[in-house]
């Protein structure tokens, strides 16, 4: 997955959406659930839209849904997608209730069941990806986008970067990735004052003190981390994926 040469998908997310990155790291389909009234909601919110409770948890949810509608996009505002058009997305009526806009892997048929996953897109953000509940291999165009390769599926044997390893989200993501067999995780530490909580020690985990004034690993980020600059070395695969846990 080359994320450093060329454009990436939109990065900006609200804090409420951090659970999607956690789910993608853990390989679990989790949605926001209100412990007070059991309401499941999407998109992520800062309060339960049913009872207004503000203590929300992320829990494993039913991955099934029905594809209500789909569209193949031929014109995008984003250079990342412009290079990959046409790109297909859909609107899924999830078994849990909410409507979920999802990337559609090839073969999804409108009106038919789909199964959703949380995956990591090329910007290091958790996104919902749907695939047909029943594959129709004949109808699949091999060149159709998005494809499996547009999302990180399994951290096993991968070299991964977690931009802010010291946030709660960062801790969770690192532990999950190492637990799932990642070969090497590199994590940024935004603290320069030495008061950072003790870093988790593992031979597969490398920490760098990085003043992360930029939320994205820029050239400056690499210089600060004393890592090879992927642009100047021509090696765009220093990492297989980036989990951007800074907000």
């Amino acid at each position: 997955m080359s994320i450093f040469s060329g454009p990436h998908p939109p990065l900006a997310r609200s804090a409420a959406a951090a659970g999607l990155i956690r789910g993608a790291a853990a390989g679990r389909f989790i949605l926001q659930r209100c412990p007070g009234c059991s309401n499941v909601q999407y998109p992520p919110r800062d309060a339960c839209h049913n009872c207004l409770g503000t203590e929300l948890s992320w829990e494993v949810a039913d991955r099934r849904g029905l594809l209500s509608a789909k569209t193949t996009i031929h014109s995008s505002n984003e250079p990342y997608f412009q290079e990959r058009l046409p790109w297909t997305i859909g609107s899924v009526a999830s078994m849990e209730g909410p409507t979920i806009v999802a990337h559609l892997l090839p073969g999804c048929v409108t009106g038919e069941p789909v199964v959703m996953e949380l995956r990591l897109d090329a910007a290091g953000r958790g996104v919902v990806v749907a695939r047909p509940a029943t594959e129709h291999p004949d109808s699949i165009e091999p060149s159709a986008r998005p494809s499996e390769n547009d999302f990180l599926s399994d951290p096993k044997s991968k070299r991964l970067l977690v931009t802010d390893g010291c946030s709660m989200l960062g801790h969770f993501v690192i532990a999950t990735l190492l637990g799932r067999g990642a070969t090497a995780v590199t994590a940024g530490c935004p603290r320069t004052d030495g008061i950072c909580p003790e870093h988790d020690s593992s031979e597969r985990l490398t920490w760098f003190n990085v003043a992360t004034d930029s939320s994205w690993p820029s050239r400056k980020w690499y210089r600060a981390a004393q890592l090879p600059d992927p642009e100047s070395t021509g090696d765009s695969s220093v990492f297989d994926a980036v989990f951007d846990t800074s907000n």
């Binding site: 998908p9 939109p10 900006a12 997310r13 609200s14 409420a16 959406a17 999607l20 999407y42 998109p43 992520p44 209500s68 509608a69 789909k70 569209t71 193949t72 996009i73 031929h74 014109s75 995008s76 505002n77 984003e78 990342y80 997608f81 790109w87 997305i89 859909g90 609107s91 009526a93 409507t99 979920i100 806009v101 999802a102 990337h103 409108t110 009106g111 897109d121 910007a123 953000r125 996104v127």
Partner: protein, 390 residues
Amino acid sequence: MTSPRMKYDGVAVAVPVTVPYERFSDKSAQWWIARALKMLLDGSGLAKEQIDGLALSSFTLAPDNPVSVTQHFGLSPRWLDGIALGGASGVVALRRAARAVQTGDASIVACIAADTNRPGSFRSLVTSFSKFAQDASYPYGGAGPNASFALLTDYYMRTYSATAEDFGKLAVSQRANASSTPWALLQKPLTMQNYLDARPISDPLRLFDCVMPCAGAEAFLVMRDDMAQELGIPFARIMGTIERHNAFSEDVIQHRGGWSVDAAELWSSAGVRPEDTDFVQTYDDYPVISMLQFEDLGFCAKGEGPDFVRTHEFGVAGNFPHNTSGGQLSTGQAGAAGGHLGLVEGIRQLTDSAPNPVRGGNGIGLVSGFGMINYDRGLCSAAAILSGWN
């Protein structure tokens, strides 16, 4: 539960103005607002000091906000409202302003919507339109509202057997209407074949299903009717209005808007029926949305939109004059001004100042608004029934 709605008696809606649109503009939103305000003053004979109420809608005002504009233009209103409801902002501004005038909180309210359009400014609007869009729709292809409306058009077509030709008929007739509108950016005649052959944008939407972002301004005045009479300016009256937000949130995909919650009350409060109207100005960011309005406002039943389109003609001489200036599909979408376009054209029709006039009839028209795709559907709906001044 709900209390009965007070009538809009004694309120005049006047001086419909449009600052001619430009595809791109290096001017600011403030420049476009100033042009609109000047046109309101010139059209009414009022002095700037007499404007004591201001309702303002703009997406491109930042870092300013509506109160900044008062200092920018030397206004000192005693009533000020910023209405950030996109395509519903025109009717909502009308509703707010009418009540302000009735209660005496303001005497003369200028309702102005204006936006500029620099290359790239539409992209920056859609990238950060809302939290939900940022988290859960924009990252899915980066196509903004085109993709959202494509999804609901796809659903509508399959559920109600609408065809591309049905949507094309609306686009083609609006283009014909635009031929009389001097500021319409798209005036080249459009045939059904042109419509069908246009490049795909986001299936099933084609190029001429989508509005062209541009710069422009739309505005009108709301005041007491005796004041309008004293000034000797023609005006329209408000027979009834509604607004509704986030209706039918349980629908898995949007196939109806909030109008259907309130349409019965709209017609009964106005004391007229759908067939009494001479024209309808819908919010036409995409043809499917016009079809939803025909259904949800009671011109036909749910699901009959396609058949309604097949059996009606939408020019000023047709049996259902619709978007008589060409609508946004042909004049362009000047940001929030797109939400005032239909209302301004409706006032023009009812004050005998439309370049493409609907002849005869009862002097009654319906104007409708729709706005704000926060995530997967438009949240705001609004409508007003207006009558002519004579």
